[in-house]
């Protein structure tokens, strides 16, 4: 819980998160905690902006000299891509942007840290995806970002499993052009052979959700990772723990992402 411990004055830089709805966002709390820890003269605030108003709002932010950048979440992550003058490699691959900063030439520079934050969270727990064989359940927005970041971090093989094979195929074809021969549609052997198993679906958010993966195949040489933050320990992680797996909670993706975004924004 971040209580702003410093004075806001005429020299303070201002950052914020653009979202709709806004009430649930946790970024101000997390970012103001980092601001306090780094003793920056800055503050991070909520921007409640409707989808149709994003471009006029961002045009206004360009004129706000002491605003070095901002983050975005639902429903703005795809539309923000078009407002950027330049984007980083993850945004180029995924078509999604969740942080934008002003470059030294005044241009908007966008990137997405959804996947990079997950990888940063893994590494902060001593887990290096370089050279690993990874099984990823799900092929939605979170999966796309995570698979791209894992490939970028040097994962040897990434097997993507999804209820809709078409969606997984589209994701893999997109990655194939940038990281050829690394991503495949998951087959039956991939779950057993994986060093790291990651759930990127929303199954586990609710108490009665079915398991996102076949837990009977898990074994103690595997690391099982989540993107779900609440509950802190999902049913999947509980079962994995019982089967002797090392588990990696969803919260690490948040803390990894917050740290990376703070660095990108110069907080």
């Amino acid at each position: 819980m971040a209580v702003l411990g410093h004075l806001i004055d005429g020299n303070s830089r201002v950052y914020g998160i653009i979202a709709d709805p806004i009430a649930q966002v946790r970024a101000p709390d997390a970012m103001n905690e980092i601001i306090a820890a780094r003793k920056s003269n800055a503050v991070f605030v909520p921007f409640h902006v409707h989808a149709g108003d994003l471009s006029v709002f961002v045009a206004g932010l360009k004129a706000w000299r002491n605003l070095p950048g901002f983050t975005l979440t639902v429903p703005h992550k795809e539309t923000a891509r078009a407002l950027c003058d330049r984007v980083g490699p993850m945004a180029a691959i995924t078509g999604s942007v969740n942080v934008v900063r002003k470059g030294s030439d005044g241009a908007w520079e966008g990137e997405t840290y959804d996947g990079l934050g997950f990888v940063s969270g893994l590494k902060s727990e001593g887990i290096d995806p370089a050279g690993a064989s990874i099984y990823v359940q799900g092929a939605g927005g979170a999966s796309k970002a995570i698979v791209a970041a894992l490939a970028d971090a040097g994962a040897r093989r990434i097997a993507v499993a999804n209820r809709s094979t078409i969606r997984a195929t589209i994701l893999i074809e997109r990655l194939e052009t940038v990281y050829p021969g690394r991503c495949v549609i998951a087959g039956p052997a991939d779950l057993v052979g994986a060093d790291i198993v990651i759930n990127t679906t929303s199954l586990g958010l609710n108490e009665n959700d079915p398991s996102p993966i076949d837990t009977s195949a898990l074994h103690s040489r595997q690391i099982i990772a989540e993107v779900i933050m609440r509950p802190d320990t999902t049913a999947l992680l509980e079962v994995a723990q019982a089967r002797g797996c090392r588990v990696h909670k969803g919260v690490h993706m948040l803390t990894g992402q917050v740290r990376e975004i703070a660095n990108f924004l110069g907080i």
Copy 2:
């Protein structure tokens, strides 16, 4: 000194001051102190915006749903008038706006509290301008706002003295249409006959400034008031004190204005 004692979260309202330069603004400190005292879930930040960017920035603010309003200072107070959909009586008279809020219909409502804040400061010290004869030195922006607010508060006679009689005449003609027969060009007898004498010029900011008014005419039945905040007690106020006058410091205008603006913005 205001340290934000509360958590900024997704439900926080955000306010700010638009200015250029920005480093010197004291509004964030003063307003965050009021926010803390009123236990509002809000924060007040600096907006550094160049003169030519004001309209694009304010268009962006319209899209920011949890921003109920903002204040402005140099160089935006006159140009802001044109961006408002409606203005209050003081803004209509002076052509200057230093606070804008979103009305319930989404329209921008502007007003200036430069003069109303001065009157509020007088009243907070138990000085009522209603029925008083007042001598005002200066005919610039601060004078215009203060004279209008004094007339609005029921001052009986306001004598305006200025080095340039033309400027004083223009000011008085403007006021004449709204408050007929109340404002006059100051003659020699007005300084002696005044209940309240107000310096609205910048003379007194610097140590070697000449006195803005002829202090030999001051007497102990008068109240001498300043708009200058630094030094806290100007040379004029020191001489006035020595002559037995009651003095009214510039700081009361600031505190009066901050309180009135916070109320206008619903902070």
